[in-house]
């Protein structure tokens, strides 16, 4: 006896996105560090920022915090980072 069934899975709403243009160098670049809200994310990113600054002599480091790993980053904060930074690194440090 053949049984017909409906697929129970909902796929994500996919929105095409393109990669941001790559920087030729980090020399003098303003670098954003966006912590995702986990306990050690800001510490981890600060260490990465220091290391990159030692290697590339960055312009300015902008440390930000999106509040909670459970939320999307607010559009206002993303716009602010775009204005102030040439590149942004985000990460998870639990």
């Amino acid at each position: 006896m053949t049984i017909r069934y409906l697929n129970p899975v909902q796929e994500a709403d996919v929105v095409p996105a393109s990669m941001a243009p790559r920087l030729k160098s980090l020399e003098g670049a303003n670098l954003g560090l966006l912590a995702n809200g986990k306990a050690n994310a800001a510490n981890l990113l600060a260490m990465i920022g220091e290391e990159l600054n030692a290697r590339f002599k960055l312009g300015r480091i902008v440390a930000e915090h999106k509040g909670s790993a459970a939320n999307n980053c607010s559009p206002d904060l993303l716009d602010d980072l775009m204005r102030r930074c040439d590149a942004v690194i985000t990460g998870n440090g639990d």
Partner: protein
């Protein structure tokens, strides 16, 4: 063998005996040779919670939509962090799979509406290592209509509505919200409530107003209250007949160091415990205030047992901390309370901190068998205030349809 094709099911739908429209499902239709092949295919695809499911045939799914007066494409809620839109069709499919009756679907929909409130933090609660489960309390007349259990063995097996409503929510979390165990659901351990965690309040034996009335709803409305819950802690006390003695015992469990945080709590008082407290004239407000005042840990112990970072207090007071908490979605009241707590840390290691931020952070209900001194404390998910419990009215039938 089961096979699937990108076909669509077209069929008629009848409401009150009238054929009103054609159904067109967006979901792909599959075919299996027999029931065993279907089950094996669903297991292989990771579409179940590890238990067999009821086949979601187009005809059965249509019955569920009809019972809830919804079209397949009606949007129940969305999860922006996951880029997911949850439609009535997918909810119905997973309700069928869980073993629900069509009449349970409005309850499941209300639960999803509660979980999609921003303060519930749908995405975080279903994916975190904390491994929470949505704990659901049903109030109002629908408890009797669906023959739900609020009594003996209330957290245990044996009641179809309790079991399958909670299970349907889990299947929706996996299949529709995309939190597959081990993939996006990264629970470190999880707990048994992740199979199903749904009860009704024993309003008839409770000495106090039911939860939904306390939360501002009419006693004749039916509601769900949803709480992102860690595993329940049992509280056994058969000896005490004194409210303060009994509630102090319960407070010690609510303050348990392993579960301690400034998050919310659920206390499911068994009828026997509720009667002991209420017969002395204690109302719900007084009970919650007593529990809040006595569910405490000292700063010294929180440090000694590794429950707080050494710079506790500074976390809430440092420059920009309020902005970060606001970005995390905390309410202004919660931010102010956490800043105040941070200030209190300066008073020294003997300073006491309650679990939660205020007495109303304790969700107090009555449920369980009438015999026995067994209550339960259920702590919230997350180290702090990541999820706040939500109450939603259950919409039955169709208020606007005239057919």
């Amino acid at each position: 063998m089961a096979k699937e094709a990108a076909a669509q099911y077209h069929g008629s739908r009848r409401i009150k005996g009238l054929e009103v429209m054609n159904l067109k499902f967006a979901s792909a239709i599959g075919e299996a040779e027999d029931p065993i092949a279907l089950q094996e295919h669903f297991f292989a695809m990771g579409w179940t919670d590890g238990l067999p499911v009821v086949p979601p045939t187009p005809e059965r799914v249509a019955e569920f939509l009809e019972a809830s007066w919804l079209e397949p494409w009606d949007v129940i809620c969305s999860i922006p962090t996951r880029n997911r839109t949850i439609t009535a069709e997918k909810v119905a499919i997973n309700c069928v799979m869980a073993g629900c009756l069509p009449s349970y679907m409005p309850v499941v929909i209300a639960i999803l509406e509660a979980m999609s409130e921003p303060a519930y933090r749908f995405h975080g609660a279903i994916t975190s290592t904390g491994g929470s489960a949505p704990f659901v309390v049903v109030n109002g007349p629908i408890r009797q209509e669906l023959a739900m259990n609020s009594g003996t063995n209330v957290f245990g097996p044996g009641n179809r509505a309790n079991a399958t409503i909670g299970r349907a929510v889990r299947l929706i979390i996996m299949n529709v919200a995309g939190a597959q165990p081990g993939v996006l659901d990264r629970s470190t351990q999880g707990h048994p409530g992740k199979y199903t965690f749904c009860i009704a309040e024993a309003e008839e034996v409770s000495p106090w107003e039911p939860l939904h009335v306390e939360r501002g709803f009419d006693v004749n409305r039916s509601t769900v209250t949803v709480f992102a819950a860690e595993s329940a802690h049992g509280i056994q006390n058969h000896q005490s007949g004194d409210p303060e003695e009994l509630l102090t015992c319960i407070s010690r469990e609510i303050a348990s160091i392993g579960a301690f945080s400034f998050g919310q709590s659920v206390l499911v008082l068994t009828p026997e415990h509720a009667k002991i407290v209420a017969k002395s004239g204690w109302d719900k407000k007084r009970v919650k205030e007593f529990l809040f005042e006595n569910s405490t840990q000292t700063l010294a112990d929180l440090k000694r047992f590794g429950k707080l970072p050494a710079n506790f207090g500074d976390d809430f007071r440092r420059k920009g901390a309020e902005v970060v908490m606001e970005r995390a979605g905390l309410s202004p009241e919660d931010i102010a309370a956490l800043v105040e707590i941070g200030g209190r840390a300066e008073a020294g290691d003997n300073t006491k901190f309650s679990r939660g931020l205020r007495p109303d952070d304790i969700l107090l209900i009555v449920a369980g068998g009438e015999a026995g001194g067994h209550s339960a404390f259920i702590p919230s998910w997350s180290r702090e205030r990541a999820s706040i419990f939500q109450t939603k009215a259950i919409v039955e039938g169709c208020d606007v349809c005239s057919i």
